[in-house]
Structures are given as structure tokens and as C-alpha cells.
């Protein structure tokens, strides 16, 4: 018995009535139809596997050890403010371990509580006050402004940096190491920050001192050179005056043989070369 192609079309189209009609005259499809009937009987005769009592009991217990997604949201909200009972906390954690969406929501809520407010820079308050209260800034520009400007400088960025340097220097001079204090306080982070701060302050001070030292040496050398030069000149002049009888000043310019002095500009012989000629017409 060869396979019938008509059945493919009818089955693919899901056309049951046409298939039933086709079955009447096609042995192959009739056999398929009988097989369908047998399988349907088999499927219908299959019983449902019994649900065991232990599984049923476990299903009853579900609400006692977990919460729904909307219950989790309520518990998360409650836990942020007043705290929740241990049983609820256990049910919530059980749900969070299973539900990715609620777990993400819980993590976001937790982060929102942990975030610290950003610290403004030291001069921000002053700057803000100046920009917010122009009258106060104008007042500070009046006659008593010298005092105000000092205060502004102290409270300004430069003042803050200077105070920080001075404090670090003072600590170093007094032998108080902020890093040691931080270590005693048991705060590793503070200790590390203090150490790096001290290192920066030390480097800065050393740099400043080195620059100052170098500048002082240079200045000293310049002064010494100038003093030495003038001194030597004065000494040689004094010696010349003492050692010579004729103190008249010698001409510094070259003289002619007749002692008439240097050539004047118009006495300079200027000649140009011509063929057969020589300077001054001399042959």
C-alpha cells in the first residue's frame, strides 16, 4: 500500500471534513484514520498520575515560607522604616532568593538608603553665600573691607590650603603623626588618608623649601659676583693710581706716529681698485 499524498495536503490544512470524505475511497488514509482512532482511545484511557499526599502537603505550606511579589513589595517598604518580624523577614528572603525582579528592587532600595550626601568643597559655603546674598557681599566691599577680605581669604580656597599646610606642618613639628592617631582610632581608611596627606604636605614643604633655597643661592651668587667685580675694579684702579706717577689719563685710542691722535673719519684713504692703478696713485 503506497502512501497517499492527498493526506499531506488535508492534514497540513487542518481540513478535517474533507479528510473524512477522502478516507472513504483511500485505503492508506483509511488505515491512518483507524490508527488515529486507536490512539485517541489509548490517550483517553490514560489516567492522571496521582498527586502524592506529601507533595500536596508541601503545596499547602507554600504561603508559610514565602510571599508573593506584591507581598514582597509591601515587606520591603515596611522593612525600610519600621523593620519587620523575623518570620516575615525569612519569608521575604526566601522570595528574594527565587525572584530576580524583586531581588533587584530590594538591591536598589538598599542602595538608596546607603548613599551618603555629597560633601561640598570648603569654599562652597562662602561662594554660595556671596552669590545668594549680594547685599552682604556689597557690604563687605565698604570701608571695613580690609577685615572682610582677610576673612574671605582665610575662608577661600587658598586660605584653606594654607591652613591645611600649616596644620600638617605644625603636627610634624610637634611630633604628632596623624597617621599614628588614625591607627590608634582603628580606622584604616583614615590612616591611609592621613598618611597620604602627610606625604603630600611633606613633599610640598620640601619642594617649597628646596625652591627657596635654590633661589637664595642664586641671589647670593649674583650679589657675590657683582660685589666681587666692583671690588676688584676698584682695587685695581686704586693700585694703578698708587703705583703710577703720571696719573694723567692715557689715550685709549691708537695714535698716529706724529701724535696727532686717531685718524679722523675724513682722513681715511678710500680707494677703489682700477686696472693699472694703485691706491694713492702709486705705481
Amino acid at each position: 500500500m503506497s502512501a497517499c499524498r492527498e493526506v499531506d495536503r488535508l492534514i497540513a490544512a487542518g481540513r478535517e471534513p474533507e479528510f473524512d470524505a477522502h478516507v472513504e475511497g483511500c485505503a492508506y488514509c483509511a488505515e491512518v484514520h483507524r490508527e488515529m482512532g486507536r490512539l485517541a482511545e489509548t490517550a483517553a484511557a490514560l489516567g492522571a498520575p496521582p498527586l502524592s499526599s506529601s507533595v500536596r502537603s508541601a503545596l499547602y505550606e507554600i504561603p508559610t515560607w514565602t510571599v508573593s511579589c506584591e507581598g514582597a513589595a509591601e515587606l520591603l517598604a515596611a522593612s525600610a522604616d519600621d523593620g519587620i518580624a523575623d518570620a516575615d523577614r525569612s519569608r521575604l528572603s526566601s522570595h528574594l532568593s527565587r525572584c530576580g525582579a524583586c531581588s533587584e528592587a530590594a538591591a536598589v532600595l538598599e542602595i538608596s538608603r546607603e548613599l551618603a550626601p555629597p560633601e561640598p568643597p570648603p569654599w562652597f559655603a562662602t561662594k554660595l553665600a556671596a552669590s545668594t546674598f549680594p547685599r552682604r557681599a556689597a557690604d563687605s566691599a565698604r570701608p571695613g573691607k580690609a577685615r572682610g577680605s582677610v576673612r574671605r581669604w582665610i575662608l577661600g580656597p587658598r586660605g584653606a590650603i594654607a591652613v591645611a599646610y600649616a596644620a600638617a606642618l605644625l603636627f610634624m613639628v610637634l611630633g604628632l603623626n596623624p597617621a599614628d592617631l588614625a591607627r590608634k582610632a582603628g580606622t584604616a581608611r583614615l590612616e591611609q588618608t592621613a598618611r597620604s596627606g602627610i606625604q603630600v604636605a611633606r613633599n610640598t614643604v620640601l619642594d617649597r623649601f628646596g625652591a627657596f633655597q635654590e633661589r637664595a643661592f642664586r641671589t647670593f651668587e649674583v650679589v657675590k659676583g657683582r660685589v666681587g667685580g666692583y671690588g676688584r675694579a676698584a682695587l685695581s684702579t686704586a693700585l694703578a693710581l698708587v703705583m703710577r706717577n703720571d696719573t694723567s689719563r692715557r689715550p685709549s685710542r691708537p695714535r698716529n706716529e706724529d701724535g696727532s691722535g686717531a685718524w679722523k673719519c675724513n682722513e681715511v684713504e678710500i680707494w677703489t681698485w682700477r686696472a693699472g692703478s694703485s691706491p694713492g696713485g702709486r705705481a
Binding site: 493526506v7 492534514i11 497540513a12 487542518g14 478535517e16 479528510f19 488505515e31 491512518v32 484514520h33 490508527e35 488515529m36 486507536r38 490512539l39 485517541a40 489509548t42 490517550a43 483517553a44 484511557a45 490514560l46 489516567g47 492522571a48 498520575p49 496521582p50 498527586l51 502524592s52 507533595v55 500536596r56 508541601a58 503545596l59 499547602y60 507554600i62 504561603p63 514565602t66 510571599v67 508573593s68 511579589c69 506584591e70 522570595h95 527565587r98 525572584c99
Partner: protein, 203 residues
């Protein structure tokens, strides 16, 4: 149970009434377990899946709006979870090599061992054929013929019109029948009597 009653039952479950939840488990537990078992064909897996499905139901009770039968909503959840769990290894799952133990819980006990053996072999053949046909056809046949869901419930669960459900069910049955025939034919003339051979062992 009408849709308003089911909505009321779900509402009471959401409010935390233990009795309501027990009623829901009693009403749907067996059906959910059947769906899980027909997907896995293993008792341990089916029990684990059933608990997972009911956890999912409990966690998502607020999503049920009462717009259609509760069983359709539950079967839809169960189906999605089963597919998530089994889709990757569906084609190599136990459907191809259905054991006697796997089909035993599905068979009603029979006084005639030969008849029981034939039904067992035919059931194994049915699950083998289901693994050979397209997935969307096989699942409708399982939901209708094995789980006993109505056309409307299947349509709601799979988000399909009733006409499509009927059409696919017919195609699924026809494809299964053809697969069975092709298997018999490929084994030669004597293979058609394989079911009888199974029965002979009990005679």
C-alpha cells in the same frame, strides 16, 4: 465553578486566607501535576515541577484578573514553566525512550495482563510519536487528550482561537497516526504485530 467564584477564591488567597489556598491546591493540584508529568514523564521531576508551578501561581496571584477560566491561567503558567525547563532537552528527553515505569502511573490496572501489556506498548508508542511531531502540535494533543482540557481552556492557555485549536488537534492526531504507521512499515511486515508480541510475553 464560575469565573466570579474563581476571582473571589484568588482574592481570598491574596489576602492570606489559608483555607482559600488549600481549596485552590485541592482544585488544581491534580491537573497541574498531570501537565508536569506529561512534560517530564518522571515522578520526581513532575513533583518538583508541580511545586515550582504552584510557587509561581502563589507569587503571581495578583496577575489573575478573572477574565477567563482559572484553570486556563494555571495551565498557561505551568506550560511556560515546563517549556522553560524542558525546551532545550525536549527532543532528547525521555519521550524517545519511554520506560515501563514512566507509563505505569498513567495506566489503570487491568485484570488481563496481556491487554495491559498492549496498552502499555501503545502508550509508549504514543509518547514516542509525540516526540517526533512538531512541538506546537504535540502540546495541544497532550492538553486535550491527556490532560482533558476543553477547547476554550486550551485556547486561553495558548492564546489561540478555538478554530486553530481544533485544526491543530486534528493535525496532531493525524501526524501521530502517520508516524506510527511509518514506524510499523519501516520494520517490515512482521512489525505490525509487535504489539501482539508484547502481549505474548504474558501468556
Amino acid at each position: 465553578m464560575s469565573a466570579p467564584d474563581e476571582k473571589d477564591l484568588v482574592e481570598r488567597c491574596r489576602k492570606g486566607e489559608d483555607e482559600a489556598w488549600r481549596e485552590l491546591v485541592d482544585r488544581l493540584g491534580q491537573r497541574v501535576y498531570s501537565v508536569a508529568y506529561h512534560f517530564s514523564l518522571k515522578r520526581e521531576d513532575a513533583e518538583e515541577l508541580t511545586q515550582e508551578i504552584f510557587l509561581k501561581i502563589f507569587e503571581n496571584l495578583h496577575r489573575y484578573d478573572g477574565g477567563f477560566p482559572l484553570v486556563a491561567w494555571v495551565v498557561s503558567l505551568a506550560r511556560n514553566l515546563c517549556i522553560d525547563r524542558y525546551r532545550r532537552r525536549k527532543r532528547e528527553r525521555s519521550f524517545r525512550f519511554v520506560s515501563d515505569d514512566a507509563v505505569a502511573p498513567l495506566l489503570k490496572s487491568d485484570d488481563d495482563p496481556a491487554a495491559e501489556a498492549i496498552r502499555k506498548e501503545r502508550t509508549k508508542l504514543l509518547f514516542w510519536a509525540l516526540s517526533e511531531i512538531p512541538e506546537d502540535l504535540a502540546e495541544i494533543l497532550v492538553l486535550r487528550d491527556l490532560d482533558g482540557l476543553a477547547y476554550e481552556e486550551i485556547g486561553r492557555a495558548l492564546d489561540l482561537p478555538d478554530g486553530t485549536v481544533k485544526s491543530r488537534l486534528f493535525r496532531a492526531r493525524a501526524e501521530v497516526a502517520r508516524k506510527v504507521r511509518e514506524r510499523h512499515e519501516s520494520r517490515g511486515p512482521g512489525a505490525l504485530a509487535s504489539l501482539a508480541v508484547a502481549a505474548v510475553g504474558f501468556v
